[in-house]
């Protein structure tokens, strides 16, 4: 059993009377790769800055292990940050940027030299010691920022959208590399992103946030397969979210059709949100299902086809994915196996507007 290395207890922050974080509680296990995921403006950076000591919460406590660190200034905290825009020192070369923390601690020249070499090797930048940071590409600057933060031997590394400025290919490479570095060093990573794919592929634990409130905490598979509410379901991947009525345990009606599901514990005839992932929709001949619609568009996506289906009486078109293409304009039936129907308490917010916030 690993211990919690960082705990946030009832953290609240407001800027100009606007509540940014609302009684946030979060425990982070030692050695984990934890991702804070949410649309931009939801308070991820603020959460990270509170952990790093750059932002004081209005109320609530921050713990490092069992020690309360609210009053510990940033420069004394045993954690380091990879900043959103790298924040490399422009007057120092790569070597001196990485050595900065050790110089402050008055480490010996020999120790510094060995550590810088080790760190630059870790991020595959050996040979770049003498380079000015302004002559490096975005990806290389990113690596320097990581090496600089890790050179202080932090127990926790905070990363604020570190790959946000990189192009897609480089981002994928760096994702793999960051994951490798984390498992190699065995330290805790707290990673901030608004990219759900990035979160799903890198994290041990994902913390989904919206409007300063944690929506769900869980492993990537939990979050993907068992979203706790419509916001999480919609944010974590494209989903069909429709209104439904729970007639009884395991008996739900949506789009005018009754389906068997696996959810229990809702009130009789309670209104719910029903979430169905596009890849879970099974296309059947139209006679075989009450859920029918007309295919309006078909797009080839590499592995599968993505199709939109207009279901009469529904505001939004259904999105489905299948390895078999249907003809545009054809009327099809759709069905879903009970395990793939996710029933959620009604979410009062507006998913679309929450997400378009990005």
């Amino acid at each position: 059993m690993s211990e919690n290395i960082i705990s946030l207890k009832n953290i609240s922050v407001s800027f100009d009377d606007e509540v940014i974080l609302d009684k946030l509680n979060l425990d982070i296990k030692d050695g984990a790769f934890v991702t804070l995921l949410g649309p931009s403006g939801c308070g991820k950076t603020t959460t990270l800055r509170i952990i790093g000591g750059f932002q004081e919460p209005d109320s609530g406590d921050v713990f490092f292990g069992s020690e309360r660190i609210n009053d510990l200034p940033a420069h004394k905290r045993k954690l380091n940050t990879v900043f959103q825009r790298y924040a490399l020192f422009p007057h120092l070369n790569v070597y001196e940027n990485v050595a900065f923390g050790m110089r402050v601690q008055k480490k010996s020249e020999a120790e510094i030299k060995a550590k810088v070499a080790e760190m630059l090797k870790l991020v595959s930048l050996d040979g770049f010691e003498k380079r000015r940071t302004s002559t490096l590409s975005g990806g290389q600057q990113q690596r320097v920022a990581i090496a600089r933060a890790l050179a202080n031997d932090p127990r926790v590394l905070l990363l604020d959208e570190p790959l946000g400025a990189l192009d897609l290919k480089l981002r994928k490479e760096m994702q793999v590399e960051l994951k490798r570095i984390q498992s190699r060093l065995g330290i805790t990573f707290i990673y901030v992103t608004h990219d759900q794919e990035e979160a799903l592929s890198m994290s041990d634990t994902i913390v989904v946030m919206n409007h300063g409130v944690i929506q769900q905490i869980g492993s990537p598979t939990d979050i993907y397969n068992e979203p706790e509410n419509g916001f999480v379901a919609d944010f974590i991947g494209e989903s069909n979210i429709v209104d439904g009525i729970m007639h009884a345990d395991c008996d739900v009606e949506f789009c005018g059709t009754r389906f068997e599901c696996v959810d229990t514990g809702f009130g009789k005839d309670e209104e719910v949100d029903v979430v169905v992932r596009p890849e879970d929709v099974i296309v059947v001949p139209k006679e075989e299902s009450g859920l029918r619609g007309t295919v309006t568009s078909v797009t080839f996506k590499g592995v599968h086809y993505e199709m939109y289906v207009n279901v009469p009486g529904e505001e939004e078109e259904w999105i489905i994915q299948s390895t078999v293409a249907q003809e545009e304009g054809k009327e099809i039936g759709m069905t879903v196996i009970p395990e793939n129907i996710h029933i959620m308490k009604k979410y009062t917010g507006d998913y679309a507007s929450d997400i378009e916030f990005e």
Binding site: G53, H75, R85, P90, R103, V104, A149
Partner: protein, 272 residues
């Protein structure tokens, strides 16, 4: 590129008329005697005026050092203040500059006089009177007062560009305030410091108004000597031009040394 170079022609004409021609005239006077014959005599006369030159350099250096001492922290505070506060401070700094230079300096005379305002006030609480006017101290005060903004502005303008995230990065890596100043703010502000030093030192060394008004003619600087050689009772353009030339060369040398220092810092990151 090339075909747009005519755009620079007004500037070239300006430089020709107001820089090249006067400089040529100064050189010509400096290396000729009254009859127009070539000579080194004038340059060699510098020995006669060595004390004035030395005084000017020392007082200019002291005034520059004081400006740096006062201006650096001020520039720092200004650069880190809120935008509104920065504007206000800038305004307060520039406001006196809109008053005529002579008037500003003249007003210090009335303040510093033996029965001036300062001695008057000190007298009321039983202090003084102090002899302040017509001293080297008064001249240095005049230099600092007049040229301080030229120190603050260039330092402020480089400091203001230091992004907040660099301060946070330094703190994140364990640097306290002192270490952040020493390892981040100071090296990054150095180009501004170099410019500031030049902009204060050059007018301080060559001033004659300040020394005449606050030094009472008893603390002549090289600027006063040169002025007299041109417009005094016994003018001698040749020696005056020679002294100007020597002063200019000395200033150029000091600027080159400063520049060297600056460049050295930029590439020698390993030293810090």
């Amino acid at each position: 590129m090339k075909k747009d170079s005519w755009l620079a022609s007004p500037f070239m004409v300006w430089v020709l008329i107001f820089t090249v021609v006067p400089l040529g005239m100064v050189c010509w006077y400096a290396f000729t005697d009254a009859s127009g014959a070539f000579t080194f005599e004038n340059i060699l006369k510098i020995g006669t005026y060595w004390d004035y030159l030395k005084d000017s350099l020392i007082m200019g250096a002291v005034a520059t050092a004081l400006c740096l001492l006062l201006g650096y922290p001020l520039a720092y505070i200004m650069s880190r203040a809120s935008w509104g506060a920065q504007q206000t401070m800038m305004m307060l700094l520039m406001l006196p500059q809109w008053m005529n230079f002579l008037l500003r300096t003249y007003s210090w005379m009335t303040l510093l006089e033996n029965n001036g305002l300062i001695n008057n006030i000190l007298g009321r609480i039983g202090l003084g009177p102090f002899h302040m006017i017509n001293t080297k101290g008064a001249i240095i005060l005049g230099m600092v007062y007049n040229f301080l903004p030229y120190m603050i502005l260039p330092i402020y303008s480089v400091m203001e560009k230091i992004h907040d995230s660099l301060f946070e990065a330094a703190r994140d890596l364990g640097a306290n305030r002192f270490n952040t100043m020493r390892r981040v703010v100071f090296p990054l502000s150095l180009p501004g410091v170099i410019t500031g030093i030049t902009m204060v030192f050059v007018p301080s060394v060559s001033t004659f108004v300040i020394s005449q008004m606050l030094g009472g003619g008893r603390n002549m600087l090289i600027g006063d000597v040169i002025e007299r050689l041109f417009v005094g009772a016994a003018p001698n353009y040749n020696v005056g031009a020679a002294l100007s030339l020597v002063l200019m060369v000395l200033i150029l040398i000091s600027m080159a040394v400063m520049k060297k220092f600056d460049d050295g810092e930029e590439t020698g990151g390993l030293m810090m």
